[in-house]
Symmetry: C2
Subunit: 412 residues, 2 copies
């Protein structure tokens, strides 16, 4: 029944550090899938700061709207995240809002916290009412099962078409103290986050005030989750939440620009990039993990848009699936991106080999090493558009028969 | 060798009217394909006005850059269009410009006209030098073969991955005179024109001055070729040229706003829409022709962007390939379009049946008639986004294994 594990998957789920102040539990509630865990509860000790970024979709789901508003009303204080797979509770009208309200009330009761300290996330089919009674019936059991080592179980419970659970961890130094950082994500199709991924949750024991936490999260998201795409489709449910429990024992950091955050920023970027890349590695039908580094653009935002335009081109993606170093399609994608580029100064490298330079194929271009590179699972494309100094790197996967198989049948 | 004819193709090439002042010829020049006509020459009598719209790509091909400039320098006077298939002469640097110059010079010599009265178009592989000597060697023979009934042969000569030649014709009344209008197009992949299609050429015997001709052409393009997409990829070579020979015997029309053009405008719109829809019907791997009518948007441009966003969503396109009325993915695509929409007033009809209304699935939704509609070749989707009065209709096709087959192997 379960699809085979992606050929691009990491060997195993990583050993994640326990994060003081964070406990997790997962449980099979039968929301949609029989006989597998499909609900995760992540609980934080009192005093935890929470930051979040959400989909820019104008048809955002009821859980997204609740969570966005709860973070504002609680001024960034959080005690719990309740997540279910199998039903996105999106495009469900007033019934969807009522289902969220009941889930939030049950979670707040089980954990003895305020309702606005609870955020929720749902992923799965769009447009069907969420059977929230199946979730609320299990909340006391979930609360009883909370444990500090529950990251992998939670990562498994939030999967939909994912073929492997996704986690990443790191440590960093803040003000002389060692802080830990762990996170999980899910996502495989409908992936071009534009604010966050489908679903990702990370926590640290660092002591960072909500506004500073939101600042570093938004900055790291811009260069990680917002730089991946599987199919150019943006979910109604994208949610990324970062919690900071403050248990690490250093003095509270209140500004995102505080230099004491430098090493934490590096570690957060590493964890989010790792999670984001795992989402791409589990892209529906993917057989190639593709890194596209764009340089020479007007600015970093322009470079990212050019990179995403290449990454989303069905012609580029199918050429790579066919192991064809079809750089003409890369030229085409640069041209349609709508960003400044100089056709006659454009250069392209594939697998480190110069293919095109100054707007023409390189003299005596030898396709053999490039063709060999295309046969691997990790494809590297570098594009210099010859205008200025803007750079960005984006990650995507190829477009294969597997994507068609999955999506011509799956009712998402 | 040749791919099977698209299941969405019209029964036969239409009977096109001869257009006084227009003659065409086609010939096998061996540019890339052996043993098939691959070059077309379209010649116009002296005094013909020519208008053109071209790709907005920033990596536009050498032929596009020449033609855009020639139309300016000749003030809209044209005597010939030279078109080849098999090589796009794109991203070929100075060599590409020199190849264009030689083709133009040979055409001007064969037809005894000025070089700026010659426009050129090339379609096929990107980045390989155009073997222009194979074309110029045949120009005298092409000129000798020119004939008024050459439309179908020319339509065949400009095909690449097309599975059928595309033509359309109409008549209109201007100022008491009957004018004829005929056109051809090619295109199958790398189709989201954003100014014109891959290649389309139309001619009329109406007497319309260049500026007026450009005005009506641009307006008609906006609602025809600019409303189609196969894969969201914009070609480096998109070119649409309309010629008016002035042989119909009415007084010259000099303003695009002249009410004498009303009926011609209708006929031009009909011909260009027909050609544009034929390009979609020949979309790579297509099995469904999809019409998406968007209403209730902020304005017509917003409606078109929402429509194209739905039409380009790989998840929507694969669902339709799977004959799945997955309206949740339509909601998702509306949400990511970035245009104003009211989630709670959004309505969707498929095959004329209300599926979702006011942001929720309709009560007692019966999927049976919608499922039956999805099994046909012609899919109708209507979306009302509930904001204002803006409307647009776009056309696309489904995303199938056939698209992957074609593009994982074809070096375009």
């Amino acid at each position: 029944m379960a699809p085979p594990r992606s050929p691009l998957a990491p060997a195993a789920f990583p050993k994640l550090p326990e994060v003081p102040g964070v406990r997790l539990a997962a449980r099979a509630c039968g929301v949609r899938y029989p006989d597998r865990p499909d609900v995760a509860l992540i609980a934080f000790d009192p005093g935890t700061a929470v930051a979040g970024v959400f989909t820019r979709s104008l048809t955002a789901s009821a859980p997204v709207e609740w969570s966005r508003s709860a973070l504002e009303r609680s001024a960034g204080q959080g005690r719990a995240i309740l997540v279910n797979a199998g039903n996105a509770n999106a495009f469900t009208g007033l019934r969807g809002e009522a289902a969220v309200a009941r889930c939030v009330a049950a979670t707040a009761a089980a954990l003895s916290c305020a309702q606005e300290e609870v955020t929720v996330a749902s992923t799965g089919v769009i447009g069907e009412p969420l059977p929230d009674e199946r979730i609320t019936a299990h909340l006391d059991a979930l609360a009883d099962a909370l444990a500090a080592d529950g990251w992998e179980a939670a990562a498994q419970a939030i999967m939909t078409t994912d073929t492997f659970p996704k986690g990443a961890g790191a440590t960093a130094r803040i003000d002389g103290a060692t802080v830990t950082l762990a996170g999980i994500a899910k996502g495989s199709g409908m992936i071009q986050p534009d604010m966050a991924t489908m679903l990702a949750f990370a926590a640290t024991d660092a002591a960072i005030a909500p506004e500073a936490l939101q600042g570093v999260l938004r900055e790291a998201t811009e260069r990680t989750f917002n730089c991946i795409t599987v199919d150019g489709d943006t979910s109604t449910s994208d949610t990324l939440i970062l919690a900071a429990t403050g248990k690490a024992g250093h003095d509270l950091v209140t500004s995102p620009d505080d230099p004491r955050l430098d090493d934490f920023r590096r570690a957060l970027h590493q964890v989010l990039r790792d999670l984001a890349q795992q989402v791409v590695r589990d892209g529906e039908g993917a057989t190639k993990f593709i890194t596209i580094a764009v340089s020479g653009a007007a600015d970093a935002a322009a470079a990212r848009r050019i990179g995403l335009c290449i990454a989303n081109s069905p012609l580029v993606k199918t050429a790579i699936a066919g192991e064809d170093a079809n750089w003409g399609r890369i030229v085409m994608a640069v041209g349609k991106a709508g960003e400044r580029a100089d056709r006659d100064r454009l250069s392209i490298r594939i697998g480190g080999v110069a293919v095109a330079h100054h707007g023409e194929v390189v003299p005596d271009y030898d396709e053999a090493p490039v063709a060999a590179h295309m046969k691997g699972h990790e494809i590297e494309i570098e594009v210099d558009v010859g205008i200025a100094e803007g750079q960005a790197t984006v990650w995507t996967c190829d477009l294969t028969h597997g994507y068609i198989d999955i999506n011509a049948d799956y009712r998402s």
